[in-house]
Symmetry: C2
């Protein structure tokens, strides 16, 4: 597809468990059902191939920038961020781009 892609990677606080990350991944993967503007959505825990990698990634595709903004500001998304992402986030790096 061509559209607008949101990419974000996280490094979690020390002590964050795999279970916490898998719970978060499940909650994020439920968002496309709540936010129809999401055209494609993938979430994953880092596979451990490279020592310098961050811990967790989300790639979300949209028809355009406006559809991304609906997702960014959607209450269902903000709730997951506030309750399950913010408390464990050490570092975050994101880019949004047309593709």
């Amino acid at each position: 597809m061509s559209g607008f892609r949101h990419v974000v990677v996280f490094r979690w606080n020390e002590g964050t468990t795999v279970e916490q990350q898998e719970d978060l991944a499940r909650r994020l993967r439920a968002l496309p059902d709540a936010i129809p503007e999401i055209a494609a959505y993938s979430v994953g825990l880092d596979a451990g191939v490279n020592a310098t990698s961050y811990d967790f990634a989300v790639v979300a595709d949209f028809a355009d920038r406006d559809a991304y903004l609906v997702y960014r500001d959607h209450p269902a998304h903000r709730a997951v961020l506030d309750e399950f992402v913010a408390p464990i986030t050490k570092d975050r790096a994101a880019v949004q781009y047309a593709f």
Copy 2:
């Protein structure tokens, strides 16, 4: 598709121009012709939607982890990294995950 995804975002050194970034994007977009293990490849300059975003992203999809490793270590890829990425990189954050 399901497979193995490599996500990387960069923050460039102060003074890096749009032209440098577009030249780099062109060089990266030529890699799928040189590296058949790349199943899908997208490269983009940050759209400027969020003030905290990094500058540049690459999302590359592969059949599996081994195909990603071919890309990671391929001389055509390393040449672009050494000549055009490393000299302008301030911060880099990456994740590889099965999806």
